[in-house]
Symmetry: D2
Subunit: 405 residues, 4 copies
């Protein structure tokens, strides 16, 4: 019996996206407005195409919440597709009443799942694949992640993301305080906390648009006030780093995931990679720290001066901020299309075009927050009992107190 | 009901490591010698410490195989600890008969799970954590991966790994043919297919040893002849890239995972990242290709000239070789130890020392092969029926034929 | 990775019931009308209360199906609550705009989950429990089971149910042919294939209603043309009998589950319990048999003259019809209520009353069909590959042929 | 991530049975002797055959326990087969060095999985099936259940079983106090708490042996001091009754499972089936009750005078004793064998004979205790936090206190 689980459903141009969450404790305050704020954050960002205008996503909670609080029963989330009326024939659930003329999508787009999906599911119509493979599905993952985030907030955790690279432009000067990173990122259409880099990134995106090309980049997710002791070393699939990596790598277009120093670990010697341990009795049970270069406490006085591990040692949180980075490939739909093959004619052809963005890294960062929140919520529910928020809070507090030696 | 699953157990200095695999089809030829070869590959590598000499790991198959073939029932694998007699008191299962004097391990080592585990499991003896958090557990994961590999081989897949970076030394000149990469890597104590780089890597390790320091690096796993259509885009946790990322990130000391171009995707424009699609009717249903820069076929004539995606689009294999890279941090146990705290005294102290290696990247590459093999075997058993190898082979062949348009 | 899974959600008086199915193959014909027919079957039956009139359940398919066929992506099913407008304040998702007066349900009903749920989830309002514990949830399980049934039908399986006991009245004379059982049961408001017993059952229900009491009973589910080889003996949780038992026992109010002879096995000696094995080469690969007392073939000529095992030996189907029985307790809400305690006053009180039925055994039989269909669909997808109906059908056919020695 | 899980492995005549448990909390006292006592209880019982003499099962703990306490890491249990030396050729793991002559088992035994398994796994040698389908596997399930039982005992739960029917003999007079039932059952070779019935049962078994026949029966498992609030109504697969039914029905030869009144629910009206609720402030937080006919408290003063529900309402424990019954079919191997077919010759033949018992109901009762214990341990670990026994005990105590209104 998995403690916490969800399923999502919905085609990009179908009537709705739907998600069901099973396993959330009773008594958590949850409002549609809260989820809608997260959905809105995902829809922002420099470099988006036309669809974002159509889709001011609004969630409806259809079960599991009463009078503003969760009941402990499954939570249904649903986002209607505001463009559905234009797709009712092409994406009809039932057989159409009379003969209608709908073109097959027969020119698979490189970089998308079109061809692999057609071969796997044995269809010559890529629409049968691309509707579900679309990044539109991440709207529901953000909604689901918002519920997880609501839980984590209750225990004082804060989830932040910022974009640190778009194409060749890399942010160089980050604020020292993580909350300042958040403030800057939230104010930036690039979700970048380095304003000068953000300006150059926007130029880069404009240039790509002009050339019918697209861009990827790198984002970072930071979670503050994560308690020590989530995840575990005892079995490979309990390791939190692996589970975070699965979540983040499964976001469409992500091709690399890093925790803490990430790839830079490969270059540095051990003496410059591991975070030495200190003790200071004046610190209480609660983790308290600033960000880069400032001393922080894992708990009850055990502290570090560095966080190269990104908050995870041996698959467990160590009380330091969780730091995850992901590299996103450029959007695969190019307005100056790549070469492909028409699977009906078996002749060379330009790839098809579905309405698309030029760059979606700022949005992907918000999705990254959501999937990280979910994984942490799972880990919390594995460590603390989850029938009611009251029990969870009691056990959480007891755990924090136990950290003081 | 999960199609394929396993559990591993065993402390580093306990009597045995044990693993049980449930869900392998009946009729697969499997011998202890085959698994032992993989175990031996893991034990090699420049930079290992003293323990490797003790542990010439030998597996025993204790169930699930009869007369050289799997039965379809759970397979038990067991590796005895040849050093157990020296640890029978310290690691006794039962209470000792009389008072014995065993020191607590009270100085947690930065970079290991010692401190996080002590806080999580509420113990002041880090031995209760480190025995299971030890990379010794990866011996069993290699044994289990060997069984998966045996299955994949039956369908023509080949799994290769090589080391491409140790500390600051990065391999530059790779052989063009993947099989040549394998040949060179297998012959190299650094598991590196660039002999000049290998020589420099050995020097780097010698220097680190001299300084009481340790080194990490990067390895790459390549799987040839992967059929198109494993994994899926339809739900986030069916995406094969995410599942591979979980497996690889959960190997101890891994801090980054990349597929295909990986982080380089972030820098390049879409026009240089996606793999254009071609068609050539002269190719049959079987994928056939060379390695970098050579044309290869996903299946039945659909081909690509590049493999920047690393063989996965939208969470599905596309018929190209699977390419996964991982960055490993340096071994956390340093012979010139880092600062820590004695949790009994709450006073500063050097971290404790457990017998350790200087660099384990070549071994980690073999573990990387094993976990990748396992994930692919899972995906195969989700796509093809798994009661008997006979049924699986029939369906596999039928799938290959279906790929021809 | 579980091959096939679903989640359901929805409170009894909330806006909707929702279900998501993940893992169905692509290419299966599926229409809302098909599911609605099953929903209608659940709503029939002598002894139902007022709610059945309100709820002519209609499902909407919101994803996973296009132009009448499944896509392989998750399938969303949704049933709107036609009575929702009357419950919008009492069951409001958000906080009400102004002070409204809603009574707590503070008198837990014996036999329901009211008290256990209040203690578990720490609420004094039984509505927070009973809305989800309500048998209303079984409407969605029937909808989900209908999708499974659609799959099974494609492979020739037929699922039948009939009521064999209501209170003290037990059906005695069953038709010999299973299809005749079905015909009679479908025509009977008691879902009973013995018309004389049905008449007495109706009287029994009338008498219970007159006394403010309620009745339970026993139903039987029969599945014809189940292929040999579903489920497995190799691990306890692969055994199909156990999985069927879980599904059926988890239907609200079920207190006993039997397979084949069931409890009668305890009385008879082995010589009268086990089904002897015969061989007749004239039978083809397809199982072909009549019902009780007639010779039937498991496959390819192996046949039995009896089916005391109910189609399962060692957790595997043996090719005989699957026979499952369940005993349902009487509806716990009594119009002449039982003693309880008001949890606010801590004083004795009659149990509260929610609108309810007198007897729901005929409906429960339809739910029993649905959960059995689901379990069989899972087992099929574990044995046969599930990306597309085409692959599944090919493997299924190959399996049937393999049964001929 | 499942909270608690296990795998078992091992053929009946292979070298060992092995089990791995993953997810047990740290700090639980666990000794081999404790498990061996449970193994010995399974080996007793009137009606067993010759094998029981060979197999004085002894478990070895090979991981997860240090100095008498669990570590939180996976626990390996292993039982060596004392008869292995006689089976080393017939059940050889590897290919034999030279040609040896081993007969195929080609005459499948009705009632066993022989034929279904041969058809499923495509083998003509029933040994490849029967070695794993053998009830020998239940020795490992008892060992694993013993670990779960150890956990439950820590929270005051007591697990009792007794045999209430063998063939046509049904126990009539049970002791009123459950602990007296246990005392009588433990002292009886029939595990029957009614000495007169036990005497008749032994006669029944003697008669069956004389005729080359076999017998089944019914056993009951009772768990005392189960806290209210385990399991849940919120999703079908969280319902504890369903999960118990799966566990018990998956014991070899079980054909019916009942909870509380079981099938008798079908006959009685609601007014005689549901357990009325009372309140008595003089009762504390701890459940305290006697057995049949005596008043008992679910918790904190809420009490019942009856326990027809068997301790479960809406899939949740209600604080009353858990009562589960199962019907076991007669052993399928008959010394006066049934008719079968030789699958090599395709000619009628008597079924083969493997060494077997006449009646194994007393042993099955012990297995029933073990699987029930496991399911309850899962439910406890879902409700209470499971890293360490200390945290679990704290949350458990807090839960008990919360039950007092």
């Amino acid at each position: 019996m998995t403690v916490l689980r969800f399923l999502t459903a919905g085609e990009s141009h179908g009537p709705t996206l739907t998600g069901i969450i099973e396993g959330m404790p009773a008594g958590l305050e949850l409002a549609e407005e809260y989820i809608n704020r997260e959905l809105a954050r995902r829809q922002q960002g420099y470099g988006r195409g036309g669809r974002m205008a159509i889709e001011t996503d609004q969630v409806r909670i259809l079960s599991g919440v009463r009078w503003g609080k969760t009941l402990g029963s499954p939570i249904t989330l649903q986002i209607a597709n505001r463009d559905w009326e234009n797709w009712q024939v092409e994406m009809a659930i039932g057989l159409p009443d009379e003969e209608v003329d709908v073109d097959l999508v027969s020119r698979p787009r490189p970089g998308h799942g079109d061809l692999a999906g057609m071969l796997k599911y044995r269809t010559r119509d890529a629409r049968n694949i691309l509707e579900r493979a679309s990044a539109r599905e991440t709207a529901m993952r953000v909604a689901i992640g918002a519920v997880a985030r609501r839980l984590l907030e209750h225990f004082g955790m804060e989830i932040i993301s910022h974009v640190i690279q778009i194409g060749e432009i890399r942010a160089q000067r980050f604020p020292k305080d993580a909350k300042e990173i958040r403030a800057q990122a939230e104010a930036s259409p690039l979700r970048c906390s380095d304003p000068e880099a953000a300006r150059l990134m926007a130029n880069e995106i404009d240039a790509a648009r002009a050339q019918g090309d697209s861009l990827g980049g790198i984002f970072e997710v930071i979670v503050l006030h994560v308690p020590a002791g989530l995840g575990s070393h005892v079995h490979w699939d309990r390791r939190l780093d692996g589970r975070i990596a699965q979540g983040v790598m499964s976001i469409p277009a992500i091709k690399a995931v890093e925790i803490g120093l990430g790839k830079d670990c490969a270059v540095l010697p051990g003496s410059k990679v591991h975070d030495e341990i200190y003790y200071d009795a004046s610190h209480g049970g609660r983790s308290s720290f600033l960000w880069r270069g400032k001393r922080w406490c894992t708990s009850g006085g055990f502290s570090r001066k560095t966080n190269r591990a990104g908050g995870i040692e041996a698959g467990m949180t160590n009380g330091a901020p969780l730091v995850v980075r992901a590299a996103m490939k450029p959007i695969p739909t190019l307005y100056r299309p790549l070469m492909s093959v028409d699977v009906l004619e078996l002749e060379p052809s330009f790839a098809g075009i579905e309405r698309s963005d030029i760059c979606a890294v700022p949005a992907a960062a918000v999705v990254g927050e959501a999937v990280t929140a979910w994984t942490l919520a799972e880990a919390c529910l594995e460590k603390f009992p989850g029938d009611s928020l009251l029990e969870m809070a009691t056990a959480y507090q007891e755990h924090l107190e136990s950290l003081v030696p």
